[in-house]
């Protein structure tokens, strides 16, 4: 747990992402992005791209490999597919964030829950829409494995994997400083079938300093 030294009153940008919605925005090198869990237990599914070259994008396996650990927290460098540092987590009052669980999709909901869940809202649809709004040439191929801020996916030494109840709470946040110009794409997870957001999607706020 690391508290931030930044005062929200000094943020240059603030935006509330409503429950289930998406957001795409550029963060310049040296700027800090804070994601604030307003009501607690919300999953903020997040992708990053190099603003200059979107094929250089967040790599879940590259980030796991660089730190030889699964969970993200203060000090974790978020790595790109080209081996660059995109951002570094500088403050975190939640303590653990997931990058194994990926994002829900309408297609995977049919596999995970039931065929009749196909009609429900899902993160990968939100990612696709957000990516198109940033650069029209981006497609599903550009949607890779993401970070789930505020989500708890514990792995046991025996290799079990569970979606546990969230460890976040109202007002918890994570902050990361951009090491290069990046584009952040967030799907504020609309999932209603598992405890990743307490079966109750709620808004998150993004602040840029």
């Amino acid at each position: 747990m690391t508290e931030s030294t930044l005062d929200p009153a000094n943020a240059s940008y603030r935006h509330v992402i409503p429950a289930g919605d998406w957001w795409v925005h550029e963060i310049k090198r040296g700027e800090t992005l804070r994601i604030l869990d307003l009501e607690g237990n919300q999953a903020a599914d997040t992708l990053f791209y190099s603003a200059a070259d979107p094929t250089d994008r967040y790599s879940a396996d590259g980030t796991i490999q660089a730190q030889q650990a699964l969970y993200l927290t203060t000090g974790t460098k978020l790595m790109s597919t080209e081996g660059n540092v995109l951002l570094e987590i500088t403050a975190d009052t939640c303590g653990r964030h997931d990058t194994l669980g990926g994002a829900c999709s309408r297609e995977s909901n049919t596999m995970r829950y039931a065929h009749d869940k196909e009609c429900m809202h899902a993160c990968r649809d939100s990612f696709i829409r957000g990516a198109q709004e940033w650069k029209v040439e981006l497609t599903k191929r550009d949607i890779a494995c993401n970070i789930n801020f505020f989500m708890n996916v514990p792995v046991s030494p025996e290799g079990g994997l569970t979606f546990a109840d969230g460890i976040s709470a109202p007002g918890r946040y994570v902050e990361m400083k951009a090491a290069m110009d990046v584009v952040c794409l967030i799907s504020n997870c609309p999932q209603l079938n598992n405890p990743c957001n307490g079966w109750n999607p709620t808004p998150v706020e993004v602040l840029i300093f």
Binding site: A69, S105, M111
Partner: protein, 238 residues
């Protein structure tokens, strides 16, 4: 099952090919200590690809073994693990790259090393992907057959040396026509300070699609639902 292809891949080698539904791909670790990095794509719709998160969360596991399945990012199955004498295969640690190989094993030039010149898994993937019209956008977390990596309570990862023994086998049955892209570079966490060539035997065999009581489909209801999605796909497509 008749043998369609038999090939010995040298360590740090690469291979790609389309394997149709029902056929089996059998990998044998010839000397022990091998690693096979693998990416999988629907052969006809190549934007559909292996998805590590859906594979793990669909089966509530952190590693792979028989009779688990390999899920795509479209709610379908690409392949099932039909035989496995290893019991634990990694899919979260990614693959080696040129900078990592240089840092770990040192500089090594072609003029002296000739065909022993060091390769890395990322370059091997990109070279083979390009032959099928794919590229950097298609690089996603891969499978690492024969390699075991465990996590402690804090999420710290450790590689288990000596996990795969000589003669170890893993066999996949494809559930959809699949583009297979693989290389035999060392696992990125392999603590061996030497760059080693671990050869792998690759065989492709004739086979059939599974019955509904197949262990890969019955081990998890998620796998059966994904397989039903495959059936719908095949009914519409062919």
């Amino acid at each position: 099952m008749s043998l369609l292809l038999e090939r010995t891949l040298t360590g740090a080698g690469m291979w790609s090919g389309v394997v149709s539904r029902g056929k089996r791909l059998r990998l044998t670790d010839i000397e022990g200590g091998a690693n096979v990095g693998m990416l999988l794509y629907n052969a006809l719709e190549r934007h559909e690809r292996y998805n590590m998160p859906d594979t793990l969360k669909g089966q509530h596991i952190f590693y792979l073994r028989a009779p688990y399945c390999l899920h795509s990012d479209m709610g379908r199955l690409l392949a099932s693990i039909t035989e496995d004498t290893v019991g634990w295969h990694d899919t979260v640690c990614g693959h080696s790259n040129a900078a990592g190989v240089l840092a770990k094993y040192g500089d090594h030039d072609y003029q002296h090393a000739r065909n022993e010149w060091y390769r890395n898994a990322r370059d091997c993937f990109l070279i083979e992907l390009a032959k099928w019209g794919l590229g950097k956008k298609d690089l996603v977390p891969n499978l690492n057959w024969f390699s075991k990596v465990v996590a402690d309570e804090a999420g710290k990862l450790s590689f288990v040396p000596g996990h795969s023994k000589a003669g170890a086998v893993v066999e996949l049955r494809f559930e959809i026509d699949t583009l297979v892209v693989l290389n035999t570079c060392q696992h990125p966490f392999d603590p061996d300070p030497e760059y080693r060539s671990h050869p792998v035997k690759l065989e492709i065999l004739e086979g059939d699609a599974p019955a509904l009581d197949d262990p890969s489909l019955t081990i998890r209801p998620e796998n059966l639902r994904a397989w039903e999605n495959n059936e719908t796909y095949h009914a519409l497509r062919f």
